[in-house]
Structures are given as structure tokens and as C-alpha cells.
């Protein structure tokens, strides 16, 4: 049954006005308990509990069957034993339910008997015009409906991603990692055995939803590869679709058959289908999220010519291997750039790509290097190592025994308080030129004592930063709120309350603004790294530093792969 219009067809699923949970339970050891409580706590439409032995479920009236419910039901979430799902779906038909999420397991994944039950359920649903998610799935999320139709509570944010996963657990892990990194979803569907709505249908739906910027998919097996290629090709021309598809080995193929009931198929066939459909394949769920996040904010590279800047030689060595092994071209630096860096960096600098100032304490020179490189036609992309929370700039403040202190100002306390008050007035004025001037003064005053930089160099760097900080975009972000707060504390003589967190809250937006400026000015991707493991939040401007060069290089290689695919269209 091919849908004429997938958006209309799946509207009751993603935007239901009423939901019934069949198998809703008062017994906390049952999935029907958490499935219902989850929805009842969050979903704002009509919600009904169906339980054939209770008159009340978690304080809500319970109905013996779906057909007993007085109002309309758009969506049924079914969490009853597999054996009675057919009966429940028959009730759905009677009740004119439009879509159902079958969480219940025990279908195609268990073998031929389960497959026969699944086919029976599908037949009933198709005859009754009901679209099915699952069976054997963990449920779904739809941001516009604020609908967490999951079998257990899960933290998920609204956001620009869509995730379709044939594995509920790996889907949950990806969502958990996304939440930790500060990114959310427009839709997430755990599609399980995918009896009715196919993976390509969900991709098409997400593809037609303008709120979705990147589509993430975990596939165990496709039911109709040709249909997948046809439908998904149309989407990948508009937005990236990134896929994890295990099953390269026999061991995994066997595991797939007992999990989602899918035929894993020959890996080379999938590889060819993905290539044809313009789908980007990655190996792990970490890469899936890494690459998706990059697409949200990075422009596509025009070619594979890459430069790396690094505050440390060994990082650069690892990056060179990681990039070259992924087909990126570590270019020789143009002569004019070599000449310029020779004047900027100490004689021991690396004299090549990766650009490594070799322990130069003058961080300003390092922060100038990206623009010099990005403006070269020879350069398509930059990996800037040591950004984000572990950036060179932050470390100047955060490490060492010598942090910046008010004593560096060598000023009278009342004088400082007066200056803070006048700074507040300037910030309140909204006058961009005055604000820029103020920022430049602050930067000169605070950076001067801690940076090993000549005054005129510092001045021109402060000019670059203050320009980056006074764009329309930046004016709306938290930087100015935080800055005002600092001046208020100074004006009130509460400088003791200014701590390292305060400093970071001002320094991180500066790094964000610089990164934004480089990317916007030159239209080339700039991927950043932190060097240490551990979750790093996506910045306010949408940038994510990757923990190491391997992950940064993978991201860049995938941006390039997508750019090349689009070029061929």
C-alpha cells in the first residue's frame, strides 16, 4: 500500500490529538506501567488507559477495550503480549484508530511462528487503514506533539535531528549521548521489525519536514532495497542522511536475524545501495552523532585540501595520519604563508602542515593562523586543534599559578567601580561602535598582563575579537548577559564573586565568535578538537569540538563525501 502523501499519511502518528495506551498498568514491574506514566506526564493531548482488569490506571480511568473509549483515538500505543496484539489491532480498526505503535515483542524476530503472527497483524492493519510502527520496538518521540511514546522514561530534547533506529537500545544510547551534548530531535522512531512503515518512509517524512536538518539511521536490514534507494535519493539531495549498518560479519548477521528479524544481507549490496542513494555510512553510533552535529553548522568543503593547526607537535602527527588515512590531502603550505608564519612564530615552528608553533607562549599568533590559512585558495578546510573548553585561550586563564587578577589593573578600587558603571551604560546604550570600543579596551586591559604578546599585536587581535563579538548573532547570545553581570558585580564591589566559571562564561563565547567569524568569512569548514575524552557540550553557536583528531578527520571526510555527492547530482 504505497502512500500518496507520506506527510498526510503519518500525521496521526507524529501529531496525534489523542493517544490510548493498550496494556497500561499499575504494576511497576510491567512495561505498560512506564509506557503510560511517561506519556501521561508529558503529552498534552487526550490520553486514555486501556486495561482489561483494572478500572483505574495511575489515577486515570481505565477502559476494558479500546472500543469502550468515548472519544476519538488517533494513536494507539500497544504494550500487551504478542498473542493478543492481533485482537487489539482489530479493536483499533473498529475504533477507527489511524496509527499504532506496537511495542510488544515476540514477532518476526523469534522465527516463523512469530513472523506469521506479524503478517496477520499487518493484514488487519492494512485492511483497516492503520499505519504501524514496530512491532518489537521501544516506541517513538515527536517534538511538535511533545509525545514520548516510549516504553521507559527517556530524556530527549526538541531539536534539528531525526533518528530512525531499527534498534531501540542503540537508539536510546544515541539519544542519551545527544542530550548530554545538548542536541535534540524533531522525530525519533524505534522501528523494530518494521512490518508496515518502512525505514525509507520515515526518512522521507523527515526529509519533507523543514525542521529536520540531518537524518540519522540505524539499519539492521531493509525489506526493499530498490524502494529505499529511490525514496532516499530524493531526500539526500536536500539534506544529509547518515547511516550505521552492522552486519559485515556472519556473527552480526545471525544476531540481526534474532533481533529485528531482518535479513542482514550481503554487506557489499548495502554498500552499493548507500552509495547510490547518497547515504553517508559510518561505523559507530559515536561517529553517527559526530558527523550529524558537524552538518548542523559547518559549510561543505569544496575539495580535499586540508590544513591543520596544532598547539602540539604530537597532536599534529596523529592528525596527519588520521586525515591522510581518510583520504584528505594534507597540503604543502604555500610559500607566501610559510613566509608569513616565519615572521610570526619562533624559529622552531614546524615549518609545514600541520602548523605547530612548537610551544610558543604567544597564543595570539596561534589564533591569527586560521585566517591566514583560510583565505588561501589552496585550502578547502581547516582542523583547528585545541579549541573549546581546552582551548589555548582558556588555558591561559585556567592553568598556571598566575591567573588574571584585579591587582594587574594597578588601579584604585573606586576608580574600577566607576569604570564598571560606565561600561554598563555603554552596554545598555546598544551603540555597536561604542560597545566594540569597550570590548577592545577590556581585552587589552585583561589580556595584556598574561599574554606574551607585543602591544600592537594584542591591539589588532583585540580588534578582531571585538568585531566578532559585535555581530547581530552574537549580540543576542549569552555573552552580553554574562558580561553585564560581571560589571554589576564589579560596580557593587563584589569582585570576590567573580571566579573561574565567570571567566569561562566570557571566554568560551569569544572562541565561539571567532570560529563563527572564520567560517562565515571564508565559507570553509573549521573542525576543532579538545584532546581529552569526555562529553563536550555543543556551543551556543552550534559548534562541537571533537576529543581527538581521529574523530575530527572522520567528520571532515564525511562532509567531503557529501559535498562530492551533491556535486555529482
Amino acid at each position: 500500500m504505497e502512500s500518496v502523501n507520506i506527510v498526510d499519511e503519518l500525521r496521526p502518528l507524529f501529531n496525534p490529538t489523542s493517544v490510548a495506551v493498550v496494556g497500561a498498568s499499575n504494576n511497576s514491574t510491567k512495561w505498560g506501567y512506564t509506557t503510560f506514566s511517561n506519556l501521561a506526564n508529558q503529552y498534552k493531548g487526550m490520553i486514555y488507559a486501556v486495561n482489561n482488569r483494572e478500572s483505574e490506571v495511575q489515577g486515570h480511568q481505565a477502559y476494558t477495550t479500546l472500543t469502550d473509549i468515548p472519544g476519538n483515538v488517533d494513536l494507539a500505543v500497544i504494550v500487551v503480549p504478542a498473542e493478543i496484539v492481533a485482537e487489539v489491532v482489530t479493536d483499533c480498526v473498529s475504533k477507527r484508530v489511524k496509527a499504532a505503535v506496537i511495542i510488544s515483542a515476540g514477532f518476526a524476530e523469534t522465527g516463523s511462528k512469530g513472523k506469521a503472527m506479524q503478517d496477520e497483524v499487518l493484514k488487519i492493519a492494512q485492511k483497516g487503514g492503520i499505519r504501524l510502527v514496530g512491532p518489537n520496538c521501544m516506541g517513538m518521540w515527536s517534538a511538535p506533539a511533545n509525545l514520548p511514546a516510549f516504553m521507559f522514561p527517556m530524556k530527549i530534547e526538541k531539536g534539528p535531528l531525526a533518528l530512525i533506529s531499527q534498534g531501540g537500545n542503540i537508539g536510546s544510547a544515541i539519544v542519551a549521548d545527544s542530550t548530554a551534548r545538548g542536541i535534540g530531535y524533531q522525530q525519533y522512531v524505534s522501528c523494530g521489525c518494521t512490518a508496515d512503515i518502512q525505514i525509507e518512509d520515515y526518512i522521507e517524512y523527515a526529509g519533507l519536514d523543514d525542521s529536520v536538518k540531518v537524518i540519522l539511521v540505524y539499519i539492521e536490514g531493509l525489506n526493499d532495497g530498490a524502494r529505499f534507494v529511490e525514496k532516499v535519493s530524493a531526500i539526500t539531495r536536500k539534506k544529509p542522511v547518515i547511516v550505521v549498518k552492522p552486519g559485515r560479519t556472519d556473527a552480526a548477521a545471525r544476531a540481526i536475524s534474532s533481533h529485528s528479524g531482518a535479513l542482514s544481507g550481503t554487506d557489499s549490496v548495502y554498500e552499493a545501495a548507500f552509495k547510490k542513494a547518497g547515504v553517508l555510512r559510518v561505523d559507530t553510533s559515536t561517529e553517527l552523532l559526530d558527523v550529524a552535529i558537524a552538518f548542523l553548522r559547518q559549510p561543505l568543503p569544496k575539495g580535499r585540501n586540508l590544513v591543520v593547526t596544532t598547539p602540539g607537535g604530537s597532536y599534529g602527527v596523529m592528525a596527519a595520519d588520521a586525515c591522510a588515512l581518510r583520504g584528505l590531502n594534507m597540503i604543502d603550505l604555500p610559500d607566501r604563508v610559510m613566509a608569513e608564519f616565519n615572521t610570526m612564530f619562533p624559529p622552531r615552528w614546524s615549518h609545514g602542515n600541520p602548523v605547530d608553533p612548537a610551544g610558543d607562549r604567544d597564543v595570539v599568533q596561534y589564533m591569527k593562523a586560521p585566517e591566514i590559512l583560510l583565505k588561501c585558495d589552496e585550502v578547502d578546510a581547516l582542523i583547528f586543534m585545541g579549541f573549546g573548553s581546552f582551548s589555548g585561550i582558556t588555558s591561559v586563564f585556567a592553568s598556571g599559578d598566575k591567573s588574571w587578577s584585579f591587582d594587574d589593573l594597578k588601579m584604585d578600587v573606586t576608580e574600577i567601580e566607576k569604570l564598571a558603571l560606565s561600561a554598563l551604560q555603554i552596554l545598555d546604550s546598544g551603540d555597536k561602535i561604542q560597545i566594540k570600543g569597550l570590548l577592545q579596551s577590556i581585552l587589552n586591559i585583561t589580556l595584556g598582563p598574561v599574554l606574551a604578546t607585543k602591544a600592537e599585536e594584542l591591539d589588532s587581535f583585540a580588534d578582531v575579537i571585538s568585531t566578532a563579538l559585535t555581530t547581530e548573532k552574537m549580540m543576542e547570545r549569552s555573552f552580553f548577559i554574562n558580561l553585564r553581570q560581571v560589571f554589576r558585580l564589579i560596580a557593587n564591589g563584589q569582585t570576590g564573586e567573580i571566579n573561574m566559571d565567570t571567566v569561562v562564561s566570557l571566554v568560551e563565547p569569544i572562541i565561539d565568535a571567532l570560529l563563527e567569524k572564520w567560517i562565515d568569512d571564508y565559507g570553509k569548514p573549521v573542525i576543532t578538537t579538545t584532546f581529552t575524552e569526555g562529553t563536550v557540550k555543543i556551543s551556543e553557536a552550534g559548534f562541537s569540538p571533537y576529543p581527538n583528531s581521529e574523530r575530527a578527520a572522520t567528520v571532515l571526510a564525511k562532509l567531503l563525501e557529501y559535498a562530492e555527492y551533491l556535486d555529482r547530482q
Copy 2:
């Protein structure tokens, strides 16, 4: 100059009684500032500042030259421009300094002129019997001397690892990750251009130090491959040596030459040398630490036959691919095990390896599976997915709307308080049998209401756990301190102060104890996973859950590689 006994030879380096910093500075923008402050803050031996323009450095008397220092100097840390290092090393000879760490850069890594300077410095040192670290390095750490001879402050713990790194930055990143994971070092040396003491010398020293359990190495290029193989072979028979060696690509080889001045060499030559020396090669710094941590607590597998248990099918699928791709053998489950699992799990369980109970809410059955598998002769190792902080057991308490509550006890408050007091008496008695009985009661009382488990099953599981909790090792750990604290709060009617952190502080040691019991009882490695990114601390018993199956499989493959190497000796 081959040393007769490397331990004696390097004692002044790793256990100096006095240290001088040449180039110690009052100027916070100089590396000489942080190098000195770092040592002055922590090192307890005699410390001297040498500065030819100041009479005082950071409150310490400063000497114009080394030779002006009145007392003996074992170790000189040199942080002056490259051009005057030869002069300083000449002073070291006059002063009878025994070892020097040359942080200064600008030597072999910068080309032939720098190489000539380096050779000159080496000649002076060798003639004067001084052993050199570096040049162009970030310094070193020695736990017995509590000696942080680094160019900048770095958090490093004492511990069972040794790290030798030809890259200071990557070394720092590895140390930072180690600190975050809760593991430390006996020695860490950033060896830079390795003019004098060679990488194999440091490995030999660490190999002969019984406090070092695993040796981690980052190599850019070796000066004498045959010597490396000879020296390191003797060590790898006793303890694992794990190596990251970039330079597979030309881009990285070029970067290496400008970084450490090393000749990266043909990768296949290194590959062969590592194989011959029994060195385990990994690709990234993350893998280096992952594998090292596993060696600290896991036994070696006797073969490549592996089982995986997973709380989710997709995790299992990903694990099967990850393991099979790394040469591990996902065995078919023996018939008797199949039969046993058929009685334990719901009919929808995966019926194979990976073992997946497919959403069974009865977590007790899942926790029983490892012992059933580990006691099989057919099984050499287990990957147990979903352990640690994200384990099945913890999630029973931590997730869902239905957490455990005192109301579940259905008891009078004073009755509960009385029971808590008598529990405290039992804990104080030190009587293991009574304590075991107490633990078993507590487990039955608290788990009963939240687990979907039959009473007799729960009882036998409580017996397993309470046995695991009352081993000599466990009795010394924090579990009993935390448990006493909980009973004190209950006895004082302060149950409101018992929160999720309290629960986790009791549940995590239970998981630790179970894991320890499985490993100790069967002598087989049990690798665990969490599923989500982000740093996980090593547990009190020394176990580390890995975030995903790819990392777990890499670890297991390396344990196997080492076991096979030892078998061949």
C-alpha cells in the same frame, strides 16, 4: 655508552635528592616560571633556582649559574634558549650533576643546525657522565620522588602505569584522561628528541620497577630498532608494553620529522619490530589507555572463544560485528546452556550468542547469565554489556517513576529504626556469617518490591550477592562504610537524607563485587560496557566499563594478543 644497570644509572633522574631549575623565572609568560613554580609547590627535596639576571625567583634565592649553588645537585631541569644549553650542560659537568631534563626546544627537530647543537650537548653530557632526558620535551614525573618536573602544571596521580611519550602534548592528554578516569603513574617521561636515554631504556627501567604493572609508549621514531627489540623483549615477557606509533602515511612522517626530529621509517618495519618484541600496538591514545586499564585487573583469555550478554539486541549486533572484525570468535552456545536459558528467559530471548533476554524485566535472570556462561569450558571470555553506572541493576533504581521507597517496607517507623540499630550492631560485630545474613535480608527486602522476580529466585540471587560482598577484599572497601552511614541515618530518623547518590554508593560496589567474583571464580576476563560516551571512573576494585562494544572488543583482542604472545615464549 651502554649502562651496566639501568636502575642505578637512572636513580638520580627518578629519585633525585636535589633539583635545580636552570632558567627559573619571575616572568609568568615564560616556561621557566611554571617549570619552577610547579616543582617548588610539590617536590619535597632540595630545590634551587638558577637565573643569571635575578637574585630571587618566586621567593627562592636565585643563583647566577649552577656552579654557584652551595649544595649537591642530582638533577638539573633546563629551560633556557637552545643556544645556551651546551653551556649549561658544561656547568652540569663541573657541578657533578647526574641527570638533566632539557625542556628547551630548537634542536634536532628544526633541522641539521639544530641536530649539530644537540650532538654537541650530548657529547658534553656523555663525557661528564650525565644522563639526559630530551631535549625538546615537556618534562617528567616520578611518583616515589613526588617530582613534577614539567614545563606547566599538570594533574597526575601516583599509580601502577608508566608512560614514555615522544610527544609531550599527547602525553599530557593521556595523563589528563588517566586522571579523569582515576588512574595514575609511577613514571611519566616526555622524552622529546631522545638524544641520550632511549625509549627502550625507559621501558627497561619501568619493566624492572615492580610498582609498574603496564607500560604505555608513544613513539614517533626509534634510533636503534634492534636494540629496542632486544631490550623490550625481555620486559614484555613480564608485563605488557602497549604502543601508539603514528607515521603510516607520508603526511604524518613529514610531521614527525619536524616535531621530534625522528625518522619515522617504514611502517611495516615497525610493525615487524613490535611483533618480535611482543609489543601491543594500538591506533589511538584512547585505545592505549583502554587496553592498559584492562591489563590491571583482567586475567588473560585462554583462547578466542567469546560470549556476549546484552540487555538490548542492537547492542549485541554491534558487539558481534566489533568482535568478529577483531578476530574474536562469537561461539555457538552449547546445547546445555541453550536449554538452561530457555527455562530462565522469556520465549522471545535471542536463542544464541549474543545472549539477549529481549526486554525481560527480570534483571536477576540477566545477572545470573554470566556464571552460567563462564563455567563452560567452551567460553574463554565474556563481554557483559550494560554494567557500571548504566547497569541494569542501577537503572532499576535510578530510572522510572517508581523508585524504591520506605513505604514499600510497610512497617512502623520505630520498628524500622530499631532494625537499623540492630543492623549496625551486626556490622560492628565483624561476624561474617551474621553480616552475610543481614545483607541477604536487606537485598530481599529492598529488591523484592521493584524486581519482577520470583521469591526463591530472588533469594538465591541475594545469596550470590551477599557472598560476593563478604569477601576479605570487599570488607575493606567503601561499601560497608556507606552501608553503616545509611543505617545511622535510618536509626536517627533521617531517612529524608537518603537520596539517589546514597543508593548508587551501595549499588555500584555490588556490581563491582559480582564482577570480581565472576573473574576470580572462573579466571576469565569479563569486559563490561556502558553504552554512552563520557568518562567513566575506574571502580574501587579496578574495573572500567567501556562506552561501547568497539572499545570493549579492542581491549579483549589485545588481551588475547598478549596471551598468545606469552604462550609462544
